[in-house]
């Protein structure tokens, strides 16, 4: 589904990604862990097309297309979704209006029929229940005045509405209370299928008890330096990153 080879990216002349490789197949869940400032959010931003970053090398192919050549909205239409580490507050733009526009724009692009108001509302109710997002929040301006946890829930709600093929969750678990963590994880697990995939960026092994990954990667200094199964996360939780980052790496 997604194949990243030797990806290099910089921001304001500072090299952040330094030759990153990652392959994600349909049906898989990949966890990415790594110390602060390693480049995890940068990877997510580059994949979703944030313009501040300059790609200086490597490639990323998503479902057969050159992802790096596409505009952010084209990536969304192709089925990519990013749950932001810091969701943006957008005063004056209504959550529901925005989602309806987004969904119908994607449908139009894929040559599908637009959702009518009734079907949209049915879907909204269903998904809102799935992530237990307070209905009143869907009626407010996008993220405006939402609590930290509400913002994260809203990200997962949007993901549920947009039904992406590949979702990147950037620290969606930070700022969530225990109940919210369970709810959000349940949401992800219910959406998970053979056809879609997830990249879950997190600092905490705890999340991976709920969303069980097929692979765990360690991202350090702009590269993935270790890959393992879910037991790697347990080891990291206990021992930290030093044992990987302090010894010279062999490929």
């Amino acid at each position: 589904m997604l194949e990243i080879k030797g990806l290099e990216a910089q921001i304001e002349d500072k090299q952040i990604l330094k030759g990153l490789n990652l392959k994600v197949n349909a049906g898989e869940i990949h966890a990415i862990m790594g110390p602060n400032g390693a480049g995890k959010s940068t990877l997510a931003s580059v994949l979703s097309g944030r313009e501040d970053y300059e790609v200086t090398g490597g490639s990323a192919v998503f479902l057969g297309d050159d992802l790096l050549e596409m505009a952010p909205e084209e990536r969304a239409w192709a089925g990519l979704f990013l749950a932001f580490q810091y969701p943006v507050e957008i005063p004056g733009v209504n959550n529901t209006t925005f989602l309806k526009t987004a969904i119908n724009e994607a449908r139009k692009q894929r040559g599908e029929k637009e959702l009518n108001a009734k079907d949209f509302l049915l879907m909204l109710k269903e998904k809102q229940k799935l992530v237990e997002l307070d209905l009143s929040l869907t009626k407010r301006a996008v993220n405006e005045g939402f609590s930290g946890g509400e913002k994260k829930r809203n990200e997962i709600f949007q993901m549920a509405m947009l039904q992406p093929k590949l979702a990147i969750l950037d620290e969606t678990d930070s700022g969530l209370d225990i109940d919210a963590l369970r709810v959000v994880s349940n949401g992800v697990n219910k959406l998970r299928s053979k056809e879609n995939a997830f990249i879950v960026i997190t600092h905490y092994q705890r999340l991976l008890d709920y969303i069980v990954p097929d692979f765990v990667h360690v991202l350090h200094d702009g590269k993935i330096i270790k890959t393992g199964d879910k037991t790697l996360a347990l080891k990291l939780e206990k021992e930290g990153y030093d044992w990987i980052t302090k010894q010279p790496q062999t490929a």
């Binding site: 979703s48 097309g49 944030r50 313009e51 505009a71 952010p72 909205e73 990536r75 969304a76 239409w77 979704f81 990013l82 932001f84 969701p87 943006v88 957008i90 005063p91 004056g92 733009v93 209504n94 209006t97 925005f98 989602l99 526009t101 987004a102 969904i103 724009e105 994607a106 692009q109 301006a141 996008v142 949007q158 947009l162």
Partner: protein, 388 residues
Amino acid sequence: MSEFSTIDFSHQSLDFPTKKDEHFKYTSMGNLKSKGFDIPSGVLSSLDIEKHGIEKANYAGVFVFLGGCFSHENSEVPKQIRIESSSPRKKENNVFIGSVNQLFSKENTRIVLKDNQSAEKPYLILHVLEENNQGACADIEIKLSENTNASFVQKVIYGENASNTYLNLSTYLDVETHAQVNFYNFETISAEGFLHQQLTADLSKASKCHIFSVSTGGAQIRSNINLKLNGENGFGQINGLQLASDSNHIDHHTKIEHLVPHCESSELYKLLAEKKGTCVFNGKVHVYKDAQKTNAYQSSAGIIMSDQATIYAKPELEIYADDVKCSHGCTTGALDKEALFYLRSRGLSEKEARKLLLEGFALEVFQGIDYKMVLDEFQSTADLFFNA
């Protein structure tokens, strides 16, 4: 009474402001100097106001002004309203716009609402310029007697070929005790048109006045909007949206005067400038020494959408009382890039995302408007701009 058949800007008695004049620093009257505009007279020849999307049935009454004069033939005056004509009011120390009006307006029209009235629908004040090179100066006074409650929509409509036009409106709202008035001011101007306006509201005890404006198009719009809070427990609001594109120049100078204690005022302006457009906002709040327990809120925000667009925004607070709550905020910047990316990452095209953000930014100005019809019209005026 003016005998002129043209508004002749080369008239010797006109004293043009210079750049040194603080209130005309960003808005020059100079390009009018060589101009003249014909003042139309008589009854409308061909104009069918329904063709301009105006349905008389939506209004409690329609007041049509032609060449600045009230047109009985084209208006529909309901029983509860009295129209009085007299010679133009003497304008108070009004440097330029007032002198033009004084010199070239032919009559004063007084719209009188007697005590305790309230209408279900708004009234419409309609200024018409049918032909190219036409101009008009209107002098209007609206008297809202005690306990009346009324809303006015003010619009300008232009004939098909009327591009180069001049309109000067001097409107005075006399708001008596416990009266309430909404004034919805649509400043949508012909392609090369000028609009100059002096809108003043004088508020007596426990009265309320809400003024909402949208300004777009034309060569130049300059409106001075003044609220005088003259009686205790009064409330005044001035909200405005400026949408400047191409070489539109839009300038609002507002002044809210708190002359007595226990009044509240609120002001919100949104300025949007794209292409070579210019927006100017100067908002003065003056709290007099005796006006204790005043609450005055002002906020303005601008978005600049191109390198050649300009926004000048300046709050001016003059507070001489000590027991007051005043706040003001003034920001100008580009469209929020983070928000734009957020929306695009969800699958909104750049154009769609922009539109949604700008709409969200702009339409806050019209929150609190009771009439859905009026709200829709403000919204569609904005949409015309966003979709262009």
